[in-house]
Structures are given as C-alpha cells and as structure tokens.
C-alpha cells in the first residue's frame, strides 16, 4: 500500500493520500447503504386485494444504491483531500456572485423589474408562462414576508402558511357574506392576518428559537384543522368556490357584463381575450410583490429594522441595551403575518377556489426553504430560490414524483454546505465604520 500511496503524491504540497483508508471508508459507507436499502428499497409491498399485502423484491436496486454510495463517497473524500486548502470553485463563484449582486443591487433590481414588467409582451410569452410567473411571484412575495420574520428578526416560523390561509379565507368569506371586492378586502386580509400574528405572538415570543418553531407549527396545524372541521362557515374540505376576480378600477374582465356595467375590453375598445385577465392578475401580484420589497427595504433602515437585526445577532446584548425583545419580535411577527395575509388574499382571487388542502405544513416548509436556500435576509436570494423551486418541477414532469425528495435533500445539502444560504446576506444594514476600513 505504501507504493500505491507513494505514487499518489504528485508534488510535495499535496498531502499523502492514504488510499487504503479511503477505500475502507467507502466500503463501510456502501455497507451501511446496503443495510439501509435492504428493507425499504429491496422489498416493496403492494396490495394483492382483500386487504392483504404481497411483496416484491428488488435486490438489483439495492446493489445499484450501494454502488452509487461507494462511488459517491469515494469521490467526495478524494475531492476533500485535494481541495482542503482552497475554497471549492462553486463556493468561490457564489461568494463572488453575492458580492457582485450586493454592489450592483440597484442595477440588478432595475433590470429584473423591467424584465418582469415586460414579460407578458415579449414574443415568446404565453398564457402558460404568465401563469407560471404569477406562481413564482406569489412565492417571492411570501418569501419576502417570511424573510422579515426569519431572515431579519431570526425567528423560525414553521406555521407561516397559517397567515396565508387567514388572508385567503378572510377575502373568500368577506366576498361571500359581505360582498366585498378584492380591492376592498385586501387591506382587511392583511389586518386580520396581522392580528392573528400578534395574538399568537404575544404569548409565545418569549420562547427560545426551536420551541418557537414547534409552537408556530402547532398553530399552523390548528388553523388548518379548524378550517377543515368548521364546515358551516369555511365549507370544510370542500372549501369555498366562486371567489370574485379582481377588477380594473371597477371594470370587470368578462366577455359580457350584466346590464349597466362596462367591461374592461369594452371600455378600452379591445377585442375580448381571456389572456387580458391573466395578464392583469400577473401585474397585480407584481405590484404587490414590489411594494412588499420596497416596504421591507425601508423598514430595515428604520430603528425597528435595526433592532430586528440586532436581536437576530444577540438577544442578550439587545436586552442589556434596553431593547424590549418581546415588542420588537412582535412587530416582526405581525408585519410578516400581514404580508402573508396580503399574499393569501391574492391567492384566493387568483384561484377562485380555496380549500384547507392548499395550506398544509409542506407549504410552510416550501416558503421556509425559499428563504433559507436563497440566503436568510437576502431579498435577491429569495427571488432566485423561488424561481428555482417553482420552475424546476415544470421542466421535467418525469421528475414530479421526486420533486419533494430532491427538495428535502437540497435543504439538508445546502445547510451542510452553505449554512447561510446561496446568496448569504448577513451584513448588518448599518455599519459604524465604512466598509473599506474593516478587515483587510
């Protein structure tokens, strides 16, 4: 073995690679993989009818899994041995990208907004594309909302979808029972969601980070179970349908309107096309998302925003400096909830139908993943992550089955590889000294 490891030494700067240890390590990993795969991959249960189960064996798959783990582990180890000194290339590219996007933030934002505004009129645009972009923007908005709570204030909220649901149901119920339109209900949705946030936040915000996470998760489930079971009001599992669409300053988007109402295409003298409504809805969410972004960016510059960031970094120090942590956290929680409520209101009007099924824990996890993958506190990162997570499954429908599997694995991998997210932005918005004087 010494001969083999001797040959591996290319030059004196590379440490001696102990191939025997590497191989042993990879073999152990493969053995563990075999043990893991044997019961669940190797044996498949299936219904044989009559409430009985049969089994099929797939030992070939176990062998493939073991081989893959062996090769993967070996490659990873070798890579680690040779890259120990320097940062890996992708990580270097990402850090440079982060720095670049921070420097060019203004230009990038203008370019992004211009592209988003022009999207419906570009030659390759289609109804499908606009629909997809609308979905992306909903997640961008939710991500920005949650970013206030998780990214800025450092509170892990696993029940964010509850506020989204509250906003959606507020609009659906007020439209059904009070006859409110989308634009009348929008502020109401935000207000109701914010009050839910404050009501929940008041007792629980004294808790430690991970306790808070579980309590918010429980709260999200409570809201969902209540929506599911309170049938007389919420319609139970059937949800609420026929939610009104938004109008353009009172002009509805319809082929024909009832007597005395002018429709959008009549007023402007256009030919009627269902795409007009889709495009309009797209612009509504684009506006909402941009307002959200502007709002949070301004908040960051306010004392309250600075208190959030300070609290995220060190709660004890904050308390010593006279910041009341409960109030500061409560404001972050309430504002995050309000933004979620706005997004929920929009979601209801866009779908025209809502049911508790749209507001499960997995939705909360998706929004959290967007914030985390993008880099907590980074507005640009959220956009990047939302585009990635929403469009990825669209590319290969064959992948659809594996979507959540990859999703979960990616969450783990990114935490292990870059715990601060892809475009990490943890620099405080306020610095005492100019940046150039710090460090090197």
């Amino acid at each position: 073995m010494t001969a083999a490891s001797g040959r591996a030494v290319g030059n004196s700067t590379v440490a001696t690679v102990d191939w025997a240890a590497l191989l042993k390590d990879a073999v152990i990993a493969a053995l563990v993989a075999i043990l893991l795969a044997l019961p669940l991959v190797g044996v498949e249960t299936y219904d044989v009818g009559g409430g009985a189960l049969g089994i099929r064996t797939h030992f070939d798959r176990v062998a493939i899994a073991a081989a893959a783990v062996f090769a993967g582990r070996l490659a990873l180890q070798i890579r680690q041995r040779f890259l120990r000194r320097g940062e890996s290339r992708i990580a270097a590219i990402l850090s440079r990208l982060t720095a670049w996007s921070n420097r060019q933030a203004l230009r990038l934002t203008i370019a992004g907004v211009a592209f988003a505004a022009a999207l419906p009129f570009l030659p390759f645009s289609s109804r499908y594309l606009i629909d997809l972009a609308t979905t992306v923007l909903i997640y961008v908005m939710l991500g920005w909302g949650l970013n206030v709570v998780v990214g800025l204030a450092g509170l892990l909220d696993l029940g964010y979808v509850a506020f989204y649901a509250v906003g959606a149901y507020t609009f659906a119920l007020s439209a059904r029972d009070l006859g409110l339109t989308f634009w009348q209900a929008l502020p109401l949705s935000g207000l109701v969601a914010a009050s839910f946030g404050v009501i929940l936040g008041f007792p629980v915000l004294r808790l430690r980070g991970d306790y808070l996470a579980i309590v918010t998760l429980g709260f999200g489930e409570i809201i969902r179970i209540v929506l599911l079971n309170w049938s007389p009001v919420t319609g139970g599992p059937n949800g609420i349908s026929d939610i009104p669409r938004p109008s353009f300053f009172g002009l509805p988007f319809a082929r024909s309107a009832p007597e005395g109402v002018t429709t959008f295409h009549q007023f402007f003298g256009f030919e009627f096309s269902p795409n007009q409504r889709v495009t309009y809805i797209y612009f509504v969410i684009l506006t909402l998302a941009l307002v959200t972004n502007l709002f949070t960016l301004r908040l960051r510059r306010l004392p309250i925003g600075r208190a959030w960031e300070a609290l995220r970094e060190d709660e004890v120090a904050c308390r010593a400096l006279g910041i009341n942590p409960t109030n500061v956290k409560l404001s972050a929680f309430g504002i995050g909830a309000m933004l979620g409520g706005f997004a929920g209101c929009f979601f209801a009007t866009r779908q025209g139908f809502i049911s508790p099924e749209s507001f499960t824990f997995i939705e909360s996890a998706t929004i959290l993943a967007i914030v985390v993958l993008g880099g907590m506190g980074s507005q640009m990162g959220v956009v990047l992550a939302a585009i990635l997570l929403v469009t990825l499954p669209e590319f290969g429908r064959a992948f659809a089955e594996f979507r959540m599997l990859i999703f979960g694995a990616a969450m783990v991998a990114i935490m292990v590889w870059r715990p601060r997210g892809l475009l990490a932005h943890r620099e405080p918005s306020l610095l005492l000294a100019p940046r150039s004087t710090r460090g090197s």
Binding site: G218, M415, P419
Partner: protein
C-alpha cells in the same frame, strides 16, 4: 364510570406509544440541545420495516406468533437504528457548531426527504395489517357497557414498561449511560475527560431510533394500518409529550407521553374526534407559555 375506565385504558395504550417516541426527542435534546424534527419519520420507518419484516417472516413460514413478534421487534429495532445513526451522521453532525437554526432546518429537510423516500418506494396508500394478537378480557360490566382490555393493549403497556425499566438501568449503570449523562451536563468537559462525544451522540440517536421502532411496531399492530404520513403528527405529539414532561428528563418523557395519550383519549371520548389534534397543540402552547421547563424538567440557565 365504565366509559371513563375504557377511555383510561385506551389513553394509557396510546400514551405508552407516544412515550416511547418522546424518549428519542428528550435524549437528543438533552445532549445536543436540538429538536430532532426527523424523529417522527424514524418512527414511521420503524412501522414500515415492521410490516415488511412480518410479511417476509410469513413467506419464510414462521407462523408461531410470539416468535414472529420477537423477531420482528429485533429486526425493526436493528434496521431503524441504522436509519437513526445515518441521519445523525449525514444531516446533523456536519452542522454541529453552526448557527443555531441550521440543524433544525436540516432536520426539516431530512423529514421531508424520508417521507417522500418511503412514499416513492412503498406507495402512498395505507398498508393494511391483519390483526396478529386477538382477544382480550372483560374487566367488569356495568349497565350493558363492558370495559375491555385487549391482550394487545396489555402487551403494549408491558413492553413499554419493560423497555423503560431497561433503558433507565442502562442510563443509570452502564459506562455508556454515564458518558451520556456526562455529555448532557457539559459536553466540552466530557470530551476533555476522554469521552468520545461523537460516539455518545451517535449511540443516543441509535437508542432513540430503536425505541421509535418499537413504537412503530406497536402502532402497526394497534391500528392495523400505516402510511408514509403517520410520522408527522405522531412526531409533533411525542415532542409535546417530551416538553410536557420536561425536556431532557427520561421519566418526564414517559409521564408526558401518558398524559398526552390520556388527554387525546378523553378529548375524543367526551368532546369531539375532529378536534383531538387541536387539543394536543393547545396543550403544547399552554405548557410552553406557563411552564416551559415541563413537569419534571430543570430550569435552563442561559449563559453568556
């Protein structure tokens, strides 16, 4: 009275299962101070491995029920423990010492991964299990209502009791248990005194997973059906149990599990089945707000 007694028996059975899962949460939290969010999924995997082991044994021709159950128990504990070990190794160990939310997010990712892993491999539909342990006896009858204690319920409670006794002895008397208690008090000091902290943490995950596998087998026998989604709710409930009993405390986890089981049984027996899960979440919130240290827990000191 009879109805009350019946709910008590049901609640104790359910509580035993929650208690077994809660021990995994409480031990991990006691030592490394993180919520192992994927623990519910480990329990679900334990349930699936039990079903598969039973089917395989049936094919081989082991038909003597006590022998089959014992074999299934051991197989499930072994394989599930390997899952627990791997999860710690892959998803948590690299993050030790990272910023405080990182392990939790990694755990959520693991949980989503494992759920979908099982769903893809074994299908999304519930897996039925024919009842293996049948029969029981009537404790007493009043007004036409018979209070029944099935052999299965008795078995679940006895196995839980035996495991609890075994694990308490293990923690109290063996070198491994001593090392675990040392790590719980002060991990850095323990490592300075020659304790292999990594190994102790690995063993903690292995033990927690093995107990969750027992809970998985019990729930499979009790309800007769499992699917890939059972881990989520059971996990949250067991975590609630661990918090209620005082996180970090072994008897607390058991006590909390039994209390949660009782609350759930009485709530669905006397109020409404639809909202039984709400009752558990409300208990969780109330406990955390009014007594964050739980019933048997020690207050946590925040050191700066």
């Amino acid at each position: 009275m009879a109805y009350f007694l019946q709910q008590l028996i049901n609640g104790l059975t359910l509580g035993s299962i929650y208690g077994l899962i809660a021990i995994g949460y409480t031990m991990v939290y006691g030592i490394i101070g993180m919520i192992n969010f994927a623990h519910g999924e480990i329990y679900m995997i334990g349930a699936f491995i039990s079903i598969i082991a039973l089917l395989v044994l049936g094919l081989i021709g082991v038909s003597y029920v006590p022998l089959a159950l014992a074999l299934v128990l051991l197989t499930a504990m072994l394989f599930t423990a390997i899952y627990g070990w791997t999860v710690e190794r892959v998803a948590y160990r690299p993050l030790r010492g990272s910023f405080r939310l990182a392990p939790l997010i990694s755990a959520i990712g693991t949980s989503i991964f494992l759920q979908n892993y099982v769903q893809i491999l074994q299908g999304a539909r519930g897996k039925p299990m024919p009842p293996l342990v049948q029969g029981g006896f009537t404790i007493f009858e009043s007004g036409g209502f018979a209070v029944r204690l099935s052999y299965l319920q008795l078995l679940i409670m006895l196995v839980t009791l035996a495991l609890m006794a075994g694990f308490s002895t293990l923690i109290a008397t063996t070198p491994l248990g001593r090392a675990q208690r040392a790590c719980e008090q002060d991990m850095q000091m323990a490592s300075l005194l020659g304790i292999d902290v990594d190994r102790v943490i690995s063993m903690t995950f292995v033990m927690g997973a093995a107990l969750a596998a027992v809970a998985g087998l019990m729930v499979t026998l009790y309800y007769g059906v499992v699917d890939f989604f059972i881990g989520f709710l059971a996990g949250v409930k067991a975590f609630t149990a661990a918090v209620l009993g005082g996180i970090g405390s072994l008897p607390g986890a058991m006590l909390g599990g039994i209390l949660i089981g009782l609350i759930e049984a009485f709530w669905s027996g006397y109020f409404s089945v639809d909202y039984k899960d709400v009752s558990v979440f409300v208990v969780l919130i109330l406990v955390l707000v009014f007594r964050p240290t739980g019933l048997l827990g020690r207050p946590e000191l925040e050191k700066v």
